[in-house]
Symmetry: C2
Subunit: 469 residues, 2 copies
Amino acid sequence: MRILVGNHIDPSIRERGDMRAWTQRLFWFARPGDLLVLCCEPDEAFLDYALAHTGVPRSKLTILAAPAGAWDDRLLDPASLTSPAFLKTARAALDAAGGPGAVSEVFALWPSASVARFAAALDIAHRFPGAAFFAQGGGEIGNNKANFRALAAAAGVPILPGRVCRSHAEAIDATRELLETSGSGAVVVKQAHNGAGVGNQLLVRDPQLAVDHVGARHLHHLTPGETGIAAYWEQRWAWASGDGRWPVVIETFAPGADAVYSEYYAAATGTWPTEMGRLLYVGRRLSHQVVPLDEVSDPVRTALLDGGTRLAETYRAFGYRGHLSADALVLSDQSVVFTEVNAQVSGSLHIYQQVARRVVDVAAAPRRQVVEYHVPPSWMVPDFATFLAALDETGLAYDPHTRTGVIVSMPAIPLAPGAPAQFVFCIAYDPATGYDHAFARLGERFQTLPATAVDASEHVGYAAVSFSS
Amino acid sequence: MRILVGNHIDPSIRERGDMRAWTQRLFWFARPGDLLVLCCEPDEAFLDYALAHTGVPRSKLTILAAPAGAWDDRLLDPASLTSPAFLKTARAALDAAGGPGAVSEVFALWPSASVARFAAALDIAHRFPGAAFFAQGGGEIGNNKANFRALAAAAGVPILPGRVCRSHAEAIDATRELLETSGSGAVVVKQAHNGAGVGNQLLVRDPQLAVDHVGARHLHHLTPGETGIAAYWEQRWAWASGDGRWPVVIETFAPGADAVYSEYYAAATGTWPTEMGRLLYVGRRLSHQVVPLDEVSDPVRTALLDGGTRLAETYRAFGYRGHLSADALVLSDQSVVFTEVNAQVSGSLHIYQQVARRVVDVAAAPRRQVVEYHVPPSWMVPDFATFLAALDETGLAYDPHTRTGVIVSMPAIPLAPGAPAQFVFCIAYDPATGYDHAFARLGERFQTLPATAVDASEHVGYAAVSFSS
């Protein structure tokens, strides 16, 4: 058996609002006998739905909700995992399943020290890869975009020109210097800890620059000259640095680049690649991602794999263990530059490892491909049942015989009463025909706002969340 | 020729008050032809004094003061190194000495990104080991006591039981947990970025516990029970975390331990040990240190060397290049545990590499040893000339024939007009007779306050500084 912990980045590093839905993608990873830990009671409708796809009987799983802590059941309070009452419950569940000796692995969506302490309290620390490192806060080291730049530079992996800034004054200097040398007259500002472009802001001199496809939720048009730079940082240093808590990354902006990634597993014995894929942004939001990676040349594929491998080896060398994702851009000259490493279970692992390989088996003949979409902010999906009903009516529900169709990846829990549900869903498709048709048909059903009604920065359509740790 | 940069930790990470004196220990490293960069004009009296010991003619050195920046000449403003005017000056100095091709090494007391940019601007980035890593803020990664614990744990190097905390609530939990399991009923709280014990606070339940010899400037007696822990953190979380900027380390306190260190050089090709030594604390301040390390058993020496080597290899693996120091404790059971790594030029390098080996040649027969003392806060030394005069009168000045006597390590610049000078000085001595006599004679001359008049935490004697980066 394994213990799967449906957690997220420690709230003491970055406090997400409500991770109940996103962390239940954990169900995709479950195998018979596993013990799952969530921050909340499972969404039974989604649980049944996911298990129907993976073929795991509900009766073969033990699912525990950790006690509500400082964030009620919206976030997993790291301290809850080792509360005496929960440890008692977890020990009883373990004993019923053969005791600590029966645990083959502790798997957590985020490599928190609290998971290491939980494993130690259950006498299974040796089943949590990297436990000693994570117990001392190592998870933070591997998930920091500033650290990434230094580590990548040391490993000789290509990155964009940029700087890591620790003060407002350094940020002004760096912005001026990078704008001078950047051909695009634009730079990207990145928070050290955030995901899916939500912590990125694009600073542009030219209002005509095409930026819709870029992973940067926020956009700022610089007024000309030094004043514009100073005015920006006066306004945004506190946001970018988390009130001075984190270094801020500033990089030159590469127009017209494609966003791709290469994932790895880092074990004590070495690293190996697990999958490559592509991220697509619309309105500067992460819109969808495609696995396996297609439509790249062999040299691009090789550069992505080689650079990613060097990064994975670097992260392994300082102690990281587990899954990691190296994000990169394919520039218009077909060179590959790396932009960050997420040393955690990414928002892609469930897609390629579980949906694409386990459920769809994309490599079998005829070959299939999987895209995972965020419900766009211009759609109005009231709830999970309505969405499933629409899939049935349109014939878009996943069909195991054709190995095509829609598979919802997570529960659809509205963030507020009456608010539309936001979630992600996969479309398995034939590469020869693509996924546009299926997506368009769902759009006909659920789009209620023109796409232009959504402000990419400020979500004036409906409130939007990002699904990443 | 080499370029030696007399800098210190970037003020954007930790703003030291006045580093003019301490950074001039740079003179000990100078060799004929070198170009030295300081934050201020050199202290000519000390410069002549140091060069008289190393035998380097003043005329063979070029010494540049970087333009005064945000901290006047008290601290090196990292931005000053790449100001156009200073780059012009530096380029002219380089051209006079044969151009960029004549530079064999860029050496900096602290691995700042600004030094990497300075080297790049002079076309000698390849002469600054680790330039790409440091240019992206890598210096911060290797000089953080929280990162150290994770990296050491991953490397399997022994550390004390402890935790890395990112929030007030985690700190309370960790303190409670560690006090429960600590035999001493005491824990040490450490700021992530500080030195010489100034960022450490000892929390003790038992007011009778012997703590005078411990490297923890601050002391707090916990009131009994949970309330005492909560009250402490209410008061000190902001101090310990730098207003939330840094993780806080909490470790169990090991009574009666000896503080030792092992230093290394990390190069692209590998690491090698450079020296081991001992730190001695009095009144919880760093009082003096002794090189080479003596009075340890062979197993202790082996454990120190082996653990330090593993740490050096880990730091090298993620990109650090240059000198580094692994600090450790020898516990009362003679086991060795590591407490931090300073991946920078330590406060020991000038002692062992320059004073002990180059000036005194301690390994020659008859063998010598070197201790470096901080002027105790109970002494009143008005200025450098008075101290040198006292050395002459007492016959304690360093004598190249006997290879014993006092060598002052840095300029004696009073921190305020009329304040006593605080500095460090070495005593070269015969191991058979020791250094107590020489130190006592100087004390007879300069001690003006009873040692008990000095509050170890709050410096109610005279204001005291710590000399580390």
